[in-house]
Symmetry: none
Subunit: 206 residues, 4 copies
Amino acid sequence: MPKIVDHEMRRQEVLAATWRVIDRVGLDEATTRRIAHEAGYSNGVLAHYFADKDDILVSALKLAHEHVRERMVQVTDGVMGLAALRAVIVEALPLDTERLLEARIEFSFLGRALNAPKLRKVHQDELAHFRRRLTSLVRAARAAGEIVTPRPDDDVAAEVLVLIDGLSIQALLAPDRITAAMQLRMLDVLLTRISAVVAEASSALG
Amino acid sequence: MPKIVDHEMRRQEVLAATWRVIDRVGLDEATTRRIAHEAGYSNGVLAHYFADKDDILVSALKLAHEHVRERMVQVTDGVMGLAALRAVIVEALPLDTERLLEARIEFSFLGRALNAPKLRKVHQDELAHFRRRLTSLVRAARAAGEIVTPRPDDDVAAEVLVLIDGLSIQALLAPDRITAAMQLRMLDVLLTRISAVVAEASSALG
Amino acid sequence: MPKIVDHEMRRQEVLAATWRVIDRVGLDEATTRRIAHEAGYSNGVLAHYFADKDDILVSALKLAHEHVRERMVQVTDGVMGLAALRAVIVEALPLDTERLLEARIEFSFLGRALNAPKLRKVHQDELAHFRRRLTSLVRAARAAGEIVTPRPDDDVAAEVLVLIDGLSIQALLAPDRITAAMQLRMLDVLLTRISAVVAEASSALG
Amino acid sequence: MPKIVDHEMRRQEVLAATWRVIDRVGLDEATTRRIAHEAGYSNGVLAHYFADKDDILVSALKLAHEHVRERMVQVTDGVMGLAALRAVIVEALPLDTERLLEARIEFSFLGRALNAPKLRKVHQDELAHFRRRLTSLVRAARAAGEIVTPRPDDDVAAEVLVLIDGLSIQALLAPDRITAAMQLRMLDVLLTRISAVVAEASSALG
DNA sequence: CATGAATGAGTGTTCATTCAT
DNA sequence: TATGAATGAACACTCATTCAT
C-alpha cells in the first residue's frame, strides 16, 4: 500500500504556506516555487493538489474567508440581537495580529482582483454573503427593539461594511494610530447611533 | 531651461499612460513595454526618464496624489470651516468615474505596497499629509464653532479617513450599491454627528 | 512459471494501451501517466514491467511489427509463388482501419527514429527483415516462372517497399484519394509489370 | 538611430538554425533554447520574430516547402512536356545530401502532424499543391503526345507522389541501398510505363 | 534623444522517474 | 506486486533592463 495522504489536509498545508509567503514577501513575489518550499515540498508537488497557480491563490483567498466565517458562527453561538451583530463585526476587524494577517491577505488580493475576473468574483461573492449576514443581524436586532434607526437595514449593513474596510486599510497603513481600542470605539459610535433614538433624530438627513 | 520642461512633460505623458494601462489591464499586467507603447513611444525611451520600473510606478502613484491635492486646494479656495472640510472630503470620494479611476489606481497599488517599502512609504506619507490637512480643517471648523464634538481633532480626522477608504473599496466592489448619493449621505451623517451637540451627547462613549 | 506469463501479459496490456494513446493523442502527448491510466493502472506500475519510457516505446513499436509478421505468416500458409508475394504485400498496406492504425503508429515513430538510435535500429531491423522476406518471395515466384523481369530480386523487393511506404504515407495524409481500391490497383500494376514479359521488355532502361 | 535588422532575414536565420537542430538532434529535442543558441542568439530573441514555438516549427516546415517549390520553378524554366514532369520529380527526390536533409525535416514533422491539426494542414496543403502541379504537368505532357496511358491524370500524379514518398522514406532508412541511381531508375520505370503504348497495353488491369 | 534589438533570469507548468508504504 | 506521493530537471515563454546605433 502506498503512502496515503489526506488530500484536503495537504491542500490546507499548501494554502497555509501561501499565506505565510504572501505575508512575508507579498502577492507579487509569491511564486509557486516559494510556496512549495515554504510548505516543505519541492515545486512539483503543487500539481498534485492544485490545477494551477490561480487555483492556489483563489483557494487561499477563499480559505481566509472561510476562517472568518467560522469564527463568526462560533462567536454568535447563543448570542442574539445587537450583541450578535457586534460580535460578528468584531471578528471582521483587524484587532490582533492574526486578523491583521487576514487583512493583509485580503487587501493583497484586492488590487489584483480589480482586473482579474475570477478573483473579483470571489471578493464580490464574499462581500454579498457578508452583507446578507449583516442585514439579517440588523433585522433581528431591530425586531428585538435594539435598533431604532429609521434607515433601511441594507443601508445600516453598508455602513458597517464601510467601517470594517476603512478600519482595515487604516490599520494596515497606520497600525500605531488605528489601535484595537480606537477600532472598537468607532464601532460603538456606529452601534450607539443606530440604536439610540435621540441620536438618530438629530442626524436624520433630508 | 526648455529641456527640463520637455523632460518633465515627457514624464507626465508616460505617467498618464501608466494610469490608463493600470486602469485597463491592472497593475500586474502593466509592463514597461505596454506603458511605453500606450504613451506612443518605444520601450527604450523609458530609460531616459525613469530609473527603472519601480520609479515609474512610484511616480505614477505620487502623481495621483498630487492631482487630488490640487483639486483639494482649488475647492477650498474661499471656503472655510465645516464647508471646507466637507469640500476636501468630497474630492477624496469616488463620486464620479474620474475619481473612481483614482481609487482603482490607489487600491491597485495598495496591495503591492503592503510588502514594497518604497510604495508603502508613498502611501503612508500621503496618508500622513492628508491626515494633517484634515486635522487642520477640523481644528479650524471647531474654532469657528461649527464642530462641537468633545473627541480630539485627530480622532475625527481618523474617522474621516476610515469613511473615505471604506467607501472607496465598497464603491469599487459594489458600485451599484454604493452610489454617489449614498456616499454623500454617509458623509453627512458623520458631519452632522460631530457638529451637533445633541447627537454627540447621546453617542458619547465610556 | 505462471508469474512470467502474467508478466508478459501485463506488458502486452500496457503496450496495447500505448497504441491507443498514440492513436488518440499522438506520440508527443503519450506520457507515461496517460499510458498507465489507459491501461487501467497507476503510473507507478510501469516501472515493474519496463526499464523506462524508451523501453515502452521501443516495445510498442516492436509489437506492431510482430503483429504484421504474424499476419503475413498466416496469409501465406498454403500459398505460393506470386500469390504469396501479393498476400504479404497486402498485409502491409493500409487497406482498412486496423492497418491504417498500424501505419499511424509506424510513422509516428519514424520521425522520432530519425534521431533516436534505438528506435532507428528497430525500424531498420524490421525493414531488413521485411526486405529479406520479400526477396525470398520474389525468388520463389521467379523459380515458379511467375516472375520474369530481368531486374535483380533485390531491386524488385525495393520497389515493393517503396510502394508500401509511399502508399502508407499518402493514405495517412489523403485517405479520401488513396482508397483501398487504388492501392490494390497500384500494387497490381507493379506485379503485372514484373511478371509480364512484354511489359518488362518495353520498360527496360538504358 | 537604432540597429535596424531585416526581420525577414532574421527569421530565415532562425529557421535555418531550426533545420540544423532538427537535423542534428531531432524534432523532439529541438528546444527553443537550442534553436536560439544554434542561431547565435540568446533564447529571448525568438520572441521578436516568432509568436511561439509552434510558429517557428510551422514556419520551418513551410520554408522547406518553399525551397522545393522554388527549385521546381527554376528547373522547369524553358522545359516542357515529359521533361518538365521529370525535372519536377527529380527536385522532390532525396538524391543528394541537401535534399536528404529536406526529407529528414519533412518526415520529422510528419509523425507529429498526424495528431497536430496545424502541422497536418501544412502537410496536406503542400501535398494538394504538389498534386495539382503534377497533374498539370501530366496533362501538358499528354497534350504534347508524350503520355499515352489511359489512366486519369490524377491517378498518374498519385503514383508519382507514392513513388516520391516511398523513395524518401527508404532513402532515409536505408541510404546505402536506395542510391540516387536507383531512385532515378525507378522514376524512369514509371515514366517509361506511362509514356509507352506497348507497356500500358500489357499492364492494363481489369 | 530615441530606437528597438538583444539579453538572461525568472515564471508557471509538465513529466519521467524514484521510492516508501 | 501495486500504489501514488514526491522529486527536480526541463520546458516554453515573459519581461525589465541594457546598449549599439
